[in-house]
Symmetry: C3
Subunit: 142 residues, 3 copies
């Protein structure tokens, strides 16, 4: 019998950058007792992203950070919306270029991630924030 | 008992830019009588996007528009596919850089959007279009 | 009665570029006997993407390729992570700028794609790879 749970994951970010949340999301799937199903994540913010990326060499995340910093420079004179500082509007653009939604199937009780995939919260603001991710788990225990 | 509905939302766009559709999507969730569940949107076009972004200061959307106009300039000599004009291929690229799919959990009968999040149709063509969004609502009334 | 299936689609890519998988995904939906529902795809890799784009004029995909090659140049001196060659880190960035997740509603037994939409695996590496896509189909046969 298919059933569902909804939970909220709180993540504290210390600065701009990546924070892996794979283990916390897997724990919610396991707690739901789901063997086969679908796990959907929604980040409730507009200046941070959810990203599935390589969890092996940390240089991949460092290079992603450097590429996006060059593509969407802090303090760009193009931007009008600067109420919260030089990283305010770049954070919105970086979010638009990536995503706040992920859906990962579940099989044998595990998120169907690839060997080198991790789920990351990507904080785009320089100052610390507490971010909320709503996690919907659908499935059955067989 | 989990159940589902599928409906189509038609949105008329007057020009390139953002059109908020949060209220219409919430109405479909409410009509479906779903208290807890998952709402998935799929835009059936390749030259417009779905985007969750800040619904407070309109300058955020103006700056997003300006950034993308600079990143993917209309009339770029790089492009071969110009059958429908200077904004034809840029519209496809802008769609590829964003997304046509969104999935938002539902709790207490409401889309689990953050305080500052709105759901937008982002029209990338300059001329008016009628856009179709298929909305799948899954859930139960408890 | 809602039910679900999970299957894995293997796709061999010969080089960087697009490979349409719409027919294979539709076949999985049909095999599942689902008339109304939701189909979610997850690509288990970090150097290739899933993209819904125009399936008519192939110049659209050629132009997408050219735009991304200019935006994220192979061999960019910015990148530290070059273990697998000049296209290694650009492949990760291109994946971050697009997505590895798609969710498409199903109605009347068909994926609710627009007339001009096709589902593509976008290989970002130059060498051939075998890519795995996990396909979750949820729905009922009415």
């Amino acid at each position: 019998m298919l059933r569902q749970t909804v939970a909220t994951l709180k993540v504290s970010t210390g600065r701009r950058g990546f924070q892996e949340i794979t283990r916390q999301v897997q724990a919610l799937v396991s707690d739901a007792g789901v063997q086969t199903g679908l796990c959907t994540l929604h980040l409730q913010h507009t200046s941070a992203s959810l990203l599935i990326q390589e969890n092996a060499d940390p240089d991949v995340r460092r290079d992603l950070e450097r590429f996006f910093a060059r593509l969407v420079p802090d303090g760009d004179a193009l931007f009008i919306h600067t109420a919260e500082g030089e990283d305010d509007m770049p954070a919105h653009v970086r979010t638009a270029l990536t995503t706040v939604n992920l859906s990962v199937p579940v099989a044998d009780g595990r998120l169907c991630l690839g060997t080198w995939q991790g789920i990351y919260l990507w904080e785009h603001r320089h100052r610390p924030h507490t971010r909320s991710i709503v996690v919907h788990v659908l499935g059955e225990n067989a």
